[in-house]
Symmetry: C2
Subunit: 245 residues, 2 copies
């Protein structure tokens, strides 16, 4: 029988050969009632630090599932250091899922002046990110930060990290050129809400020496499309997709 584990789970515990790990209640429920696993079935586990491991299921109680960690399948490898800061939008779950697939290292909701959404469900955003990481074979889950205001973001943004903000007014540097010209290893994106940034916000961004306005062509992209398109272009040019100029 070929070893083809289909279930990939992100856990919080350390992973080492021989470790016995107690599955969380939600994982136990998922494994027992959705995946209908049996004793001796195998799963893949990762925790963002120790790589991906093959583990075997045991069931020491009726509702309890344990993992016996057995074999390192993939060692942890460095991943691109690219933040995705975004004004929360109606399709925020979609944005979080896609940004995770596309390798964002952190998700940062930012309340801009035209942001319509009052409260961000960070737990849900994280749950989506975990699921997307599990399904996309990522070895990590992006850090999900609590929402902060636009002004706060600009105050805490490290000057050594390039900030690419998506400028829907047409004045930005074309994405391919902006990413090709930038040699910074740590970067981040900022996308606006459905109604775009306010002029005062664009002005504030343009004054930052570490910020670059990026343009994504002549069509008006929805906020979530712009975020994903920009992240994909950056990964292709400067991230871990290879082949950049």
């Amino acid at each position: 029988m070929t070893f083809t584990p289909r279930t990939r789970l992100f856990i919080d515990d350390p992973l080492t050969a021989g470790a016995h790990v107690n599955a969380s209640d939600s994982h136990a429920h998922y494994l027992l009632h959705v995946m209908r696993v049996k004793v001796g079935d195998q799963v893949c586990l990762f925790n963002g630090d120790d790589g991906e491991w093959q583990a075997t299921i045991s069931m020491p109680g009726k509702k309890r599932v344990d993992y016996t960690v057995e074999k390192l399948l993939r060692p942890q490898t460095p991943e691109p250091d690219v933040w995705m800061a975004f004004a929360p939008i109606k399709r925020i779950e979609f944005l979080g899922e896609k940004a995770t697939e596309l390798g964002a290292s952190a998700l940062q909701p930012v309340i801009t002046r035209r942001t319509d959404i009052a409260r961000v469900n960070t737990q849900r955003l994280l749950a989506n990110a975990v699921q997307a990481a599990e399904q996309s074979d990522r070895l990590s889950v992006p850090t999900v930060h609590p929402a902060m205001s636009f002004d706060q973001l600009l105050n805490v943004w490290p000057a050594t990290r390039r900030l690419f903000f998506l400028d829907e007014t047409g004045g930005g540097v074309p994405a391919a050129q902006a990413f090709r010209d930038d040699k910074t290893k740590s970067v981040g994106f900022l996308t606006g809400p459905e109604g775009g940034f306010e002029q005062s916000e664009l002005d504030a961004l343009r004054q930052l020496p570490f910020a670059t306005a990026v343009g994504l062509g002549p069509r008006v992209l929805r906020a979530e499309t712009a975020a994903l398109a920009a992240l994909a272009c950056w990964q292709a040019q400067s991230g871990d997709w290879g082949g950049g100029a």
Copy 2:
């Protein structure tokens, strides 16, 4: 008062200065009951051939809306010639919407061997594309073709059009390199279903002199994410976003 028409509609009729155009029933309904327009209100019209026009609403009957075409706002300009062929997936509407925003010139559903979806609602796909074109300030709507089989697609694909297929097995040329190296003006993408292409399909594609396998990095992207990421990267490098190397 500044002229800020918010309503942008795609119509089938020719657009010239002074033309009187009878709104379709669905547009009349939308304008009367959703937008609640009044006589004298202005809208933007485009048809994919004659550019974008300012027009004024009149109401010659209770349920009837007419447009008087007045002023050319933007002339028709050439757009990138990039097809998006894709195995229909659960999120097909999302894929159609995003491909339209990102400037695909044609949408072609392709039934591959692992395609789970038996019937493609082409009318719905077109309706989504029209809406996305209206909202994204496009001057055209992608041509939506009826579904065809994988074998048919390969038979009718023009040898002068580069075919970028997304190779999830890891053997593809990195996207940035593939697009930079290709000087073809007419291109198209092909993406597989949730379960990927079958080996025989990949083999058939690899034998085509005009086909290039494209890779999108180490993570496993969902089918719709791969389609959008590839299209965005191509637009950035070779399409109408500018700044390509």
